[in-house]
Every structure is written in structure tokens, then in C-alpha cells.
């Protein structure tokens, strides 16, 4: 057992937590404003795709002369592209659920379904391969911490927790956002623009999920692989419920799931538990925790309900 619980497991936990945390923090904005965003999983995939493809296409002219050319700005542009595409897809969800008052679960599901098929078309166009992109040479840089390296996005994710806490609970905009999610009619009466607040919140959720996706494709790995988010977006949603829609709670619950994922990676190939069982651990844990926490966790009152003036 000692060889499992090592410093490496701690770093692995941080790495595994990052995409879940980023996505869950995004979901926090969206749900606090009253819009369920079950499409986060799909948005993550779109973000990952955009980041990988943009990075790879940008470096093509530089790689012609030097196949290992490191250009510092290329991965950052890729990251921005991932965030932008995430925001764009989220905007579609916002349009559906705010302007057209669609069923938010169905609209989000449509985005997830789209993320199952659409990447293949793009990949086929650029790479004649429907399951993965070419590998990128210019990954996001790493920062060495003690014995290991971490992506700067890891720091960003954890830094965002206090920032978002401060924005949500200490600024007027945060107060308005929460009011919109709890009682949009009352907020409107007090002069808050409910529609605009919700649009902004949903797009922010897409930006963060897009960054999480970019982290997967050009931070964690160095290419886009079909279905690479593998349920992290849904786990993030569950983490949001378990974390009671509060940044600090979300940090705690995502660390729990990050730990479960890290543990399942550590356990793989050690002949302690069968690989399929190990792979299922994060999902089983999610269900157990969800069941255990229900009743004590209260969502924003207006979540999932379209706002009708």
C-alpha cells in the first residue's frame, strides 16, 4: 500500500482535479444564474478539439524547417481558441435555454451528442483520420514544482477558487448573479437584467469548460483523441451538487474525484483489482457520494426554469 500513497499520487491528484475543477467552477456560474448546463462534457470536448487543431495547424509552417520548433505563443493561442470555442458552444446553449426557453437538459444533451459526432468531421477534414488529431509539438509549458512538473492551468484552476468565491459573494455582480438564480422576478424588479446576467454566466461556464478541454488536449496530452473527456464533465456536474454550489465546496468535492481518478490510475496494472473495476471507481464513487449528499444540498431555486417576463 505504501507504494501507492506517494508524492506522485498527490501530484497526480492535482493533475486529475484540474479539468474537473475548471469545469465545475464554470458550471457553478451557470447554475447559480439558474441555467443547468449538462452540455459541459460536450463543451469540454469542443474546447479540446479546437485547442489541439489550432495549435497543430499554427505550428505547421514552423515545423517545416525545424520539426521540434518551440514557439512560445502557439500553445497559448491554442488555449485561447479552446476557451473561445467553449464559450461559443455555451452561447448556443444560452440561446436555446434563455431566448427560446428550451428544456435545458435536452439542449445540453444535444450539445453532448454533437460533441460525439462533429469532431470526426473536423478531424477527417484536417487529418484524414476520424478518431484523433496529429500530435502537437508545442504543448502548454510546464512549471517544475519539487520533483514533478505541473501545468500552469493547474495553478490557474486552484487560484480561481478564491477569486470566484470573492466575485460571487463579495461583489455586487455576484450578488445579482445569485439573485437571478434564486428569484429572477425579484431580481428584475430590483433592476437586474436577468437575461443578460444569464447569458454572461453561461458563456463563462463555456469558457472555463473550454479551458479544461484545452488542458486535456494540449496540457495533459499532446493531441485530441475522440471522447477524451471520458465523463469528466458529468463528474464535474456531480461535484457541483456535492459541493453545494459553493466554490469552496466544489474545490473539496473535485479534489475527492480527482483523488479517485488518480488512485484508479495508480491501481491500474498492479494486480490488486481488475482493471475494469479500477476504471469504474470514480463513477461508482460519484454515485455513492451523490446519494449520500442528497437532501443536504439545495440547488439555486430557479435552476432549470426558463425565465418568462
Amino acid at each position: 500500500m505504501n507504494e501507492i500513497f506517494t508524492l506522485a499520487l498527490l501530484f497526480s491528484t492535482l493533475r486529475q482535479t484540474t479539468p474537473i475543477l475548471l469545469t465545475a467552477l464554470g458550471g457553478l456560474f451557470s447554475e447559480r444564474s439558474g441555467v443547468v448546463n449538462i452540455g459541459l462534457e460536450g463543451i469540454m470536448l469542443f474546447g479540446a478539439l479546437a485547442a489541439a487543431v489550432v495549435t497543430q495547424r499554427l505550428e505547421v509552417p514552423f515545423l517545416a524547417s525545424d520539426p521540434n520548433a518551440q514557439i512560445w505563443w502557439i500553445p497559448w493561442v491554442g488555449l485561447l481558441a479552446g476557451a473561445a470555442v467553449g464559450g461559443l458552444v455555451a452561447w448556443v446553449h444560452a440561446l436555446a435555454s434563455i431566448k427560446y426557453k428550451a428544456d435545458q437538459i435536452i439542449s445540453g444533451t444535444a450539445i453532448n451528442l454533437l460533441a460525439l459526432g462533429a469532431p470526426s468531421l473536423v478531424l477527417e477534414y484536417y487529418y484524414d483520420n476520424s478518431t484523433s488529431s496529429q500530435e502537437v509539438v508545442n504543448r502548454l509549458p510546464l512549471i517544475s514544482v519539487g520533483p514533478e512538473n505541473l501545468s500552469p492551468l493547474v495553478f490557474l484552476a486552484f487560484l480561481l477558487v478564491p477569486v470566484i468565491w470573492w466575485v460571487l459573494f463579495k461583489t455586487p455582480w455576484g450578488l445579482r448573479l445569485r439573485a437571478v438564480g434564486e428569484h429572477p422576478e425579484a431580481a428584475e424588479t430590483m433592476g437586474v437584467n436577468v437575461i443578460r446576467t444569464r447569458y454572461v454566466a453561461v458563456v463563462i461556464s463555456g469558457l472555463l469548460a473550454g479551458i479544461a478541454g484545452a488542458y486535456l488536449s494540449i496540457g495533459f496530452l499532446n493531441q485530441f483523441v475522440k471522447g477524451m473527456s471520458a465523463g469528466l464533465g458529468f463528474i464535474a456536474l456531480a461535484a457541483l451538487i456535492v459541493g453545494k454550489w459553493h466554490p469552496i465546496g466544489v474545490l473539496g468535492s473535485t479534489l475527492l474525484f480527482g483523488f479517485a481518478s488518480a488512485l484508479s490510475i495508480q491501481l491500474t496494472g498492479r494486480n490488486i483489482l481488475p482493471v475494469p473495476v479500477v476504471q469504474a471507481i470514480p463513477f461508482i464513487l460519484t454515485m455513492l457520494v451523490l446519494v449520500g449528499f442528497i437532501g443536504r444540498s439545495r440547488p439555486p431555486a430557479a435552476v432549470g426554469k426558463p425565465y418568462d417576463k
Binding site: I38, V92, A96, Y100, A102, D103, I105, I106, S107, T109, A110, I111, L113, L114, L116, G117, A118, S120, L121, V122, E124, Y125, S130, A230, G231, F234, L237, A238, I241, N271, I272, L273, P274, V275, P276, V277, Q279, A280, F283, I284, T286, M287, L290, V291, I294, G295
Partner: protein
């Protein structure tokens, strides 16, 4: 219309074609046409169309709605006739050119693949739109549209998704066979538009051929199960997004019973089908129970169960030894060899292919098709009768059809029909799907339990107040929903669709997600689910042609299906009175009041 190609008299397999537009031809690869082909009328017909459009614009300026509508009706009818004339002229021209070539000593016809193209179709759509507009111009036109909103939203959603799909092809599709630099802009536009039209012609092409129908029905079978599963849960106010997991569990249960249960076929076959339902019910019911007992959201839980089911499948198929803390567990499920697949099902547990059902002993019989059509038609046309009588009469008609159909002499075994049927993997699971469809329809609409289920879905608080046990309804709904999804496994594992009668790791469980689109498109009704399932079955079949001939990923179909879901969530971008029942009722009442006022006026005046 002026830019788009009108017809393609000759097309190569890879999609390259000889395009004819009203003013010029586009022929990037220098295909040769027979000199006898006469299509000189295309330019003239274009001016007729232009005249028609001008006349339609003038008709809109008419102040009186009645005469406006009359003019539009007439113009629309002319347009449809014009389109029909175009089609007839085109097919005649091609045929006579082919005949001339054969008479001239050619060994085979020079024009085998030819189609009308976007320009011609646009005219047809325009004429149909005129007809619809003509109806809307009349008093009560809006109410007319609203009355058919059940069909309007899915149809408009499909059109929107096809439109977005067309944009995707426009951006991502490569014009086959030419380098872009040598093209003029006009040629490039024509070729791109042709690529779009040809792609959608391929997607919907299974409708035109017998083999396409059989293959589409084969693809429809699991979609019906998956669609029913989602629709059933929707009716009870639940969203079952766990189709993939439920199908996986159903497949595992089928495999266990089908491989290891000895016995005669009449015991093993029904038991293995029940096992499929049981496996799915277990997975769906678990999510239902967690919701009823702990209030855990069924959406998140069914998604988690999808991932867990994938692991369970891997557990059974990846290896015959699994190690737990140093102990080794030996499993008997995986077949020898590298590939992750189970042992073969016993012959008793296999569902026969349709060709074996329809041609038992080598002789084709119309008994089953006639019985099916008679039974279904009777069931769906006796709307007025109560359910017991409908079932009884439907069953009677089916039996009668079976007896009479057996008397009709069947085609010989060498016929196209038999050959195409044998080539498709259409199997007995299709009949099971139709049977389940009717049972669900009966349960939901004609029984007390089904009524309570729908009440719980429409207004849970009110239902609870009326004495319905909500918790029990939730569990039951998810049990049944899961069972329906699980039954899709009979198609894959027992029907031999995956080329072998085994459970494989590559079992396409994603069909569980497509069930969401089928249910939404079918408006959660059984007939709607059947029709939507068939539509998506056609698209999935056509998607194979698409990727073979044009190299456009068949994932385009997945994209179109998910866009349908999105568009339906958006209410097809139609005005609110199409999607909101209250507003729809308002429109209809207004129309009725208006009508009443008008009759009163007429009587008085």
C-alpha cells in the same frame, strides 16, 4: 436557382459529375456524354420558373386575401406540374440517349448514374411553399398551422438540421476529383452545391431501393427499442439518458443465458429475450430507485451507470482471469483469441434472420408480411374502438393475414426481393420491436397504470395529491424504460447483426443516445417513434454510402441527428404558439371566434 446545377446526367462513383445548369455546363473531369442526349430545354424552363416567381411576387401584392390565396394556389400547382414535367423530360432524354447508344452497338448503357439536382429541387420546394402559403393566407390559416404543430416542429427541425448539415458539407466537404485553382468561381459554386445535393441524395437513397429498405429496417430495430425507452421515461416525467448502459447490461444478460442455459428453443429463446429486458431493467431501475429513495437526479445517475456498464462489459470480455488482491477469479465468458468477444450463443437462443422466417424450408412466403401489415393497419385505424377490441381485432387481422398471405404464391428464391433480404441482417428482433411498440402504446394510453404514469409525468404534485404513489411510479417507469432499452440487445447479440452470434466489445451502444432523438422527433408517441426510428435508420444506412462514395465521414449522420435534438429543443425556432400548448389553444380559439363572427356577418348581410 440560377447558380445551382439542375441535373447531372452522368456521375462517377466518387461523386464527380457532368453538371448542367440553365446557362452552361460544368464538367471538371471532361466526362463524355452521348451526342444524342437532348437537354436543351433546361434554359427555357429556367425562364418559365423566373416568370412564375415574378408572378408569385405580384400575387403577394394583391390586397384581398382570398384572391391572393387563389392566385398562390394556382401558381403553386403550376410549379409542381413544372417540376414533374422537368423530371419526365430529363428521364426521357436520358433513356432515349441510352437506347440510341445501345442501338448504335454499345455493349452497355453510357448513362447509368444520373439525377436531378439542387436547382430543380429548389423549384419544387418553392412551389410547395407557395401551396402552404396559399393555405395560410386564408382566414384561419394560422390556426391550421398550429393544429398540425405535432408534425410541424419535427419536420421544421429536420429541415433546419439538414440545412446546417449542408453548411457543414459546404465548409468541410472537398469537391471530388478537381484541383480548386483551375476552377472559375461559378464552377466552384456549382460543384459545391452539387456536392451538398449529392450527399443528401446518398443519405436518403435507401428509400428508393428494396435493399435500402431492408437495411434501414435493420437499423431501425434498435432505434425503436431505444426510442421507446426514452419516450416511456419522458411520459413519466423522467429523462433516461442511460440507454447505452442499459443496452450493455441487457447484452450481458442475453449472453449469459444464451451461452449457458441448455434446453429446447421454445424455452431458451423467450428466456434469453426476457434476460435482455431484465438486464436493462436492473440498470434503469437502479437509477429510478436512487431517485425515488434518495432524490438523486436520474440524469446524472444514468450517465454514471453508462460508464460503469462499459466497465462491466470489459470485466466480462477482456480476460478470463481477473485478480482481486492476489486472488484470481476465473470467468468462463470470453472466447479464445485476441478479440474481446464472448462465446457463441447456443443455436436455440439465436433469433432467426428474417429471410429464414420468411422463407422457411427454402420457399418464400408472404404470410408474415401480410399478417404484419394487416395487424398493424387494423390496430392503428380502429382509433375509435376501445383497446381490448383493437388488440383483439388487430390480432385477428394478423392471423387472417397470415393464413391468406400463405396462399399468395411467393417470388422465387432467385428474385431481387429474396436476394436483398438475405443480404440484409434484418432479423426477428424487428417483429419483437413492433410487438413491444404496440404493448407500450396500449399500456400508456389504455390502462389505468399508464394513465397514472402520464399523470405523474405531467403534474407530479397533482398526481400525488390524487393518491398516486410517485416513488413507486418513478421506479416502475425507469424499470420499464430500462427493460425497453435492454431489449435492443436482442437485435445485436441474438440477431447476428454483428456478423456473429456473440457479445462483442464493439457493440454499438451509442444507439441508446440516438433514442433521445427518436423519442423527441416522434413526440413520445408510439407511431411517431416508429416513423422517426425509420427515418434515422434510413440516414444511418445512407451514411454508409456517403462515406464509401464521397469520403465524407458517416459521423455526419450523428451530427444531423444531434442537430435534430437541438432544433426540437428550440421548438424548431418556430413562434411560441407552436410549442406552448396554452398559446396554441389561444390561436385556435381566436380563429374559431373569427369564423363565427364572419358567418354571423354573412347571415346578417
Amino acid at each position: 436557382m440560377a447558380l445551382a446545377p439542375w441535373m447531372v446526367p452522368k456521375r462517377e462513383f466518387g461523386g464527380v459529375g457532368y453538371l448542367i445548369t440553365p446557362f452552361t455546363t460544368v464538367n471538371p473531369q471532361n466526362l463524355e456524354l452521348p451526342a444524342s442526349l437532348g437537354l436543351g430545354w433546361v434554359g427555357a424552363v429556367f425562364w418559365v420558373w423566373a416568370g412564375l416567381m415574378g408572378a408569385a411576387s405580384l400575387a403577394f401584392l394583391q390586397p384581398d386575401p382570398r384572391s391572393r390565396s387563389r392566385a398562390l394556389y394556382a401558381l403553386g400547382a403550376v410549379g409542381v406540374a413544372l417540376f414533374a414535367l422537368e423530371a419526365v423530360l430529363f428521364y426521357q432524354a436520358v433513356n432515349s440517349a441510352n437506347q440510341a447508344a445501345l442501338a448504335g452497338g454499345a455493349t452497355r448503357v453510357p448513362l447509368r448514374r444520373f439525377t436531378l439536382s439542387l436547382g430543380a429541387y429548389l423549384g419544387c420546394f418553392y412551389a410547395l411553399a407557395l401551396l402552404l402559403l396559399a393555405r395560410v393566407q386564408l382566414p384561419g390559416g394560422k390556426a391550421f398551422l398550429v393544429r398540425y404543430r405535432g408534425a410541424a416542429v419535427p419536420v421544421v427541425s429536420l429541415l433546419l438540421s439538414v440545412l446546417v448539415g449542408a453548411l457543414l458539407i459546404l465548409v468541410l466537404g472537398r469537391v471530388p476529383g478537381v484541383e480548386g485553382s483551375s476552377l472559375s468561381l461559378r464552377e466552384w459554386v456549382a460543384l459545391k452545391l452539387d456536392l451538398i445535393t449529392f450527399s443528401f441524395q446518398l443519405l436518403f437513397s435507401p428509400i428508393y431501393t428494396l435493399s435500402g429498405w431492408f437495411n434501414s429496417l435493420q437499423q431501425t430495430t434498435p432505434l425503436i427499442f431505444a426510442g421507446l425507452a426514452v419516450a416511456f421515461a419522458f411520459r413519466a416525467g423522467l429523462f433516461n439518458i442511460g440507454g447505452p448502459g442499459q443496452i450493455t447490461l441487457g447484452a450481458i444478460f442475453v449472453m449469459i443465458v444464451g451461452v449457458f442455459l441448455p434446453g429446447p428453443g421454445w424455452v431458451v429463446l423467450p428466456l434469453s429475450i426476457l434476460a435482455a429486458a431484465l438486464g436493462g431493467a436492473l440498470w434503469g431501475g437502479l437509477a429510478g430507485w436512487l431517485k425515488a429513495r434518495f432524490g438523486a437526479n436520474e440524469v446524472v445517475n444514468t450517465i454514471m451507470l453508462n460508464y460503469i456498464a462499459a466497465s462491466v462489459l470489459l470485466f466480462f470480455l477482456a480476460s478470463n482471469q481477473q485478480r482481486f488482491f492476489g486472488y484470481t477469479l476465473y470467468l468462463p465468458f470470453k472466447a479464445q483469441g485476441f478479440e474481446a468477444k464472448s462465446l457463441e450463443l447456443r443455436p436455440e437462443a439465436q433469433i432467426p434472420l428474417m429471410i429464414n422466417l420468411l422463407a422457411p424450408g427454402g420457399e418464400f412466403s408472404w404470410a408474415i408480411p401480410v399478417a404484419l401489415v394487416a395487424g398493424l393497419a387494423t390496430f392503428f385505424f380502429l382509433r375509435r374502438a376501445d383497446l381490448g377490441r383493437r388488440l383483439l381485432l388487430g390480432g385477428g387481422a394478423a392471423v387472417l393475414g397470415y393464413a391468406l398471405g400463405g396462399l399468395i404464391p411467393g417470388p422465387t428464391l432467385a428474385s431481387d426481393l429474396v436476394r436483398d433480404l438475405a443480404a440484409s441482417k434484418l432479423n426477428g428482433s424487428f417483429l419483437l420491436a413492433l410487438g413491444v411498440l404496440i404493448l407500450v402504446h396500449y399500456y400508456l394510453l389504455r390502462t389505468v397504470g399508464g394513465y397514472e404514469m402520464r399523470a405523474a409525468g405531467l403534474a407530479p404534485r397533482a398526481a400525488e395529491y390524487a393518491g398516486i404513489n410517485l416513488g413507486r411510479k418513478i421506479v416502475l417507469a425507469m424499470l420499464v424504460s430500462g427493460a425497453l432499452a435492454g431489449l435492443a440487445a436482442t437485435h445485436y447479440v441474438q440477431g447476428g447483426v454483428m456478423d456473429e452470434y456473440r457479445l462483442k466489445q464493439s457493440i454499438p451502444v451509442g444507439v441508446g443516445f440516438d433514442g433521445i432523438a427518436v423519442a423527441l422527433m416522434g413526440q413520445n408517441t408510439s407511431l411517431g417513434v416508429a416513423l422517426a426510428g425509420f427515418l434515422f435508420g434510413v440516414l444511418r444506412t445512407g451514411g454508409l454510402d456517403l462515406s464509401q462514395q464521397l469520403g465524407i465521414s458517416r459521423e455526419l449522420v450523428t451530427v444531423i441527428i444531434s442537430l435534430v435534438v437541438l432544433a426540437i429543443a428550440l421548438g424548431g425556432l418556430l413562434p411560441r404558439y407552436f410549442t406552448d400548448p396554452l398559446k396554441a389553444a389561444q390561436v385556435e380559439t381566436e380563429a374559431k371566434d373569427e369564423e363565427a363572427a364572419r358567418t354571423a356577418m354573412r347571415r346578417a348581410g
